[in-house]
Symmetry: C2
Subunit: 602 residues, 2 copies
């Protein structure tokens, strides 16, 4: 999110107020909730249940839908022309209650200020309000000075959202918009949005037949088709091969566990609402695992470990489950069932730096393979709030200094974010920017001395004493589902050769080349390439069009000449051709592609 | 289990009665429950809670424990000498109630006969009883003619068991025993039992550090260590490589599902008590999957399939969960969390035979790799009870004829078991006999027209009509946990080279060979062998002893001569040595071992 102080923030914040102003003018009786600035824009939540919608009926619009956005935009343009000053006042809660007496959501917020439940736009008996013409809103600011500073804006979509995100409360109407300093910036943004729609992984998942949701199985629980499972398997193998080089070892664990384990780890409290809980036939309380660390700890703790046994590096690609609200689920980005490429390193303090360095290398190697740009966020503790964190301040300082030193030796751009640490330790978070310029938090390295303490983990050191150990949590993809969604959108489904569910289409031009195509197919299959030999009754251009639609990276075109000369014509995704290639040469090229993990032949 | 009519059955059945007779004589007030014949012997359940145990106290035995077995055996020997006739009578339930008036468990059984809840030893108003001296028992027989026909017997162990297997009922004391026609047979049996104890997979699992149970995670939920996970991964890859040859494709599914899916499939009813059920935060009913077929069906049904798209062969190694009673859990043999190497083939009727043939080949190739002997049980419907099965009789007959024809073309010994079919279709069950002569049901091939009908599965055939399809359920290992337990006990932990968690120990004789050992280690690691270079301060014989204890298949001994000549001495598990081997030659041997999956070099 933008820095609250910057101009874009103010611009969007004032435009959000302008939106609410317009809606209040258009639809008397509408109830207004909240309207924050978000990444790329803003939204405002409204309750239209008792609003007068007659202005819409006059324009032939029956209900609140996308068409309403234009009506509201027009009203906003008109109000903007009023050149209203935007001014702040501090008023008493009594005054505020009077101003907002017909606005129940605002009254609830005022009540929360008064009882100390929130302090973002006021404290106990005083609240901050901003005025824009006839419109007044509870707000901490900052804002533009007047509506004529608002440049270009656009309302982008309409959606449902629960008041306070609580599914037991009122369903509101959320109107999204964005605002920029210039038309050019807005146009660029809208182009990106349009591209994003085409690249939407939900759309691509269907088009490429990668995954499917079933009403009978339930929302947020993707089923992976054969093609989608190829992608999962290849990604998992890639991460495993990177880790294997550094002596990581696979472990395996069940998805169920007794409550007792998560009580000790603290997850039972922390994930209270997000746990899928079970009462067994013998009336014991169990849960489906939301995390793997406590299980891996049980494996580590199966025996007494000498310092010679450390580090131990366990990795485990496995599904964890979180009971999310169905309204928050979205394609593969937000699911109930998350496949983590999870790993935990158990090591001595003296080994920490070396182990972090190893993970960093793995992360970098993984993401640069896809041409993703990474930045590193050092998520450190807030030195002004030492009470927010477990353990000795001196240990925090030492660990943070270690992490900073590692970051400085590396090529990646890094920055420090104080206050972003986990309560149990500082983190290194890897931030990725995709081809649509969106930022994602992906891999993470977390230093943890809290769980080892809760579970009493130690090693026997050179002096035959029990020495507390430290634990590193790390994931390369993090959520495999989310990573695949990012990768699909980043590449618009044009996956690299090694990762493509079907790598090669064989395209005999006519029936006469059928036999030759089967020779080629048999030879390629010996090398485990993923092949489709298109022997359908289609023209070559139809066959090519299908391959392009399915985003197959390589086609082998087999005509009369190729059959006679025992060659192939390679056609790359996009159209580039290479003629007169002998099959062994082609196979060598494809093997190189698998090995180097380049996107495609160049 | 033995055929009820055969001599061994009668012998053991009468010995079970002799056991109960002896217990009643020794411990006045004991309540007797049931005493069936089981594989390898018999048991009898007793309730000692109100019994007079003074006879034990006199012998210095404080409570019911293993020492009691000898006391009871002596009493049985004494009673046997009485040469009692064993005779059957049919009596009225009133008479029976009078006879067993002090035996509440027997009264409950009589009540069940009268109300029609059971009919195994009587019907409504008549029950069968057998008399042996002063002892009388509810029993359908058959029995020996008199106690002097009882030859040799032995009580083997004592355990707890709930009345009727119901954990809400009384915990009883179960006394196990066995009986044979001759002392020689008994001795052979006891030798096998002794071997089995040494080979117990729970013991080996700990010794070889393969898996572990944690009280915090819960019973029946094994955690797999790095070494155990190697075995899982290698087995899974082996099955996958066998399947891949036949164009099977991997799919992946979540472990959770809405109730709705299992209502349609029928599992909600069928597995009622065995399902782990969940109520989500939004108050929906979910379950953890006990089977994968309905999920795979949802993947198949994601689009309309042409006959050209068939067969589709989905495979998926994934965990299923059954909520079993904790008293029934046992090591890896009986767990809550079962890893299935599950597969489902969706095909046309005309493709059925071919597909069954493929699976049969995979099963045979898999099990012969381990030198397991397989027999095939054709589990067919009972023609006298057509109502027990879904669908047309003619289709059953056709399918059973197909399966029989396939079996007859194959090398494996097969037999038909009428009445062993699933309610939805006939099965081919593969029965394995291990080195301890125990029989296990392992792989299975099940023909299913029921689920396709419930879910309305079809393909569009050549006439553009909807044609119902058929489904084959098949697993090679079945439960990976159970297969590993069988394999460990069969091999006494001496796993084949390709499957051994550590394949090679490098044993430098002294520090002088440390450098040479590291050269060897680096070279072997390039080829992905699983290596341990024992650089510990131990003598060669200590190093060899450790390798033997950990059942490592190959050691490379490196002394002065080997270092000078750049050779290795190969020492195989068990002791055989091969001297003066160049490393490339050794590597070739090891690669061959991985490829051929032989147990070890010969």
């Amino acid at each position: 999110m933008s820095n609250q102080a910057d101009d874009l923030y103010k611009l969007r914040h004032s435009t959000a107020h302008l939106l609410a102003y317009a809606v209040l003018k258009l639809f008397p009786g509408v109830k207004i909730a909240i309207g924050p600035v978000i990444e790329d824009g803003f939204y405002y939540d409204f309750d239209f249940s008792s609003a007068d919608l007659s202005v819409l009926k006059k324009q032939g619009i029956e209900t609140i839908n996308d068409k309403v956005l234009e009506v509201i935009e027009a009203k906003m343009q008109q109000l903007k022309q009023g050149n209203y000053k935007i001014t702040q006042d501090w008023i008493s809660v009594e005054q505020a209650r009077d101003i907002f007496k017909d606005q129940p959501y605002k009254l609830e917020l005022i009540q929360e200020i008064q009882t100390g439940k929130r302090d973002d736009f006021g404290k106990k008996d005083k609240v901050s309000v901003y005025t824009m013409g006839e419109f007044i809103d509870l707000c901490k600011g900052p804002h533009l000075n007047s509506t004529d500073e608002i440049k270009v804006f656009k309302l982008t979509k309409i959606a449902g959202a629960y008041w306070k995100g609580d599914s037991s409360r009122q369903m509101l109407t959320r109107i999204y918009g964005t605002a920029f300093q210039s038309q050019k910036q807005l146009d660029e943004y809208l182009t990106l949005i349009e591209q994003a729609k085409e690249r939407d992984h939900r759309h691509l998942g269907k088009q490429l037949d990668l995954f499917v949701f079933s009403d009978l199985v339930g929302p947020g629980l993707p089923l992976w088709t054969p093609k989608g499972t190829v992608i999962r398997t290849e990604l998992d193998n890639f991460v495993w091969n990177l880790r294997r080089k550094y002596n990581y070892e696979k472990v395996e664990i069940p998805h169920l566990t007794k409550k007792a384990l998560y009580e000790i780890s603290g997850h039972w409290d922390k994930y209270k609402d997000d746990l899928f809980k079970i009462i067994t036939r013998e009336k014991n309380e169990y849960a489906i695992k939301p995390m793997n660390c406590p299980h891996h700890i049980q494996i580590f703790a199966r025996k007494e470990n000498s310092y010679r046994d450390l580090p131990q590096r366990y990795c485990n690609t496995t599904m964890v489950y979180r009971d999310e609200q169905s309204g928050e689920l979205l394609g593969l980005s937000r699911v109930l069932c998350i496949t983590q490429d999870d790993a935990h390193v158990f090591c001595r303090e003296t080994q920490l730096e070396q182990e972090v360095d190893i993970i960093w290398n793995i992360v970098e190697e993984f993401y640069t393979t896809f041409n993703f740009q990474l930045e590193v966020r050092l998520s450190f503790s807030d030195p002004e709030k030492p009470d927010n964190y477990l353990g000795e301040r001196s240990i925090w300082e030492k660990t943070e200094a270690q992490l900073k030193a590692i970051a400085e030796k590396k090529q990646l751009k890094h920055y420090t974010a104080y206050g972003e640490a986990a309560f149990y330790g500082p983190k290194i978070d890897f931030m990725l920017r995709d081809s649509l310029k969106r930022e994602w938090q992906v891999a993470t390295i977390q230093i943890d001395r809290n769980m080892p303490e809760r579970f009493g983990l130690y090693c026997i050191n050179e002096a035959s004493e029990k020495e507390p150990i430290v634990m590193i949590h790390c994931a390369i993809m993090g959520s495999m589902e989310r990573f695949i969604s990012i990768l699909l959108e980043h590449t618009a489904g044009k996956l690299p050769f090694w990762l493509s569910p079907v790598q090669i289409n064989i395209l005999p031009i006519s029936e006469k080349q059928a036999e030759y195509s089967q020779e080629i197919e048999a030879e390629l299959k010996k090398h485990n390439f993923r092949i489709f030999n298109n022997l359908k009754n289609q023209t070559l251009s139809e066959k090519i069009r299908n391959a392009e639609l399915e985003k197959v990276p390589v086609c082998l075109i087999l005509g009369q000449q190729e059959a006679e000369n025992k060659t192939v014509t390679i056609r790359l995704r996009g159209g580039k051709q290479m003629k007169n290639i002998k099959l062994p040469e082609a196979i060598k090229k494809f093997k190189d592609l698998n090995r180097t993990k380049q996107y495609n032949l160049t």
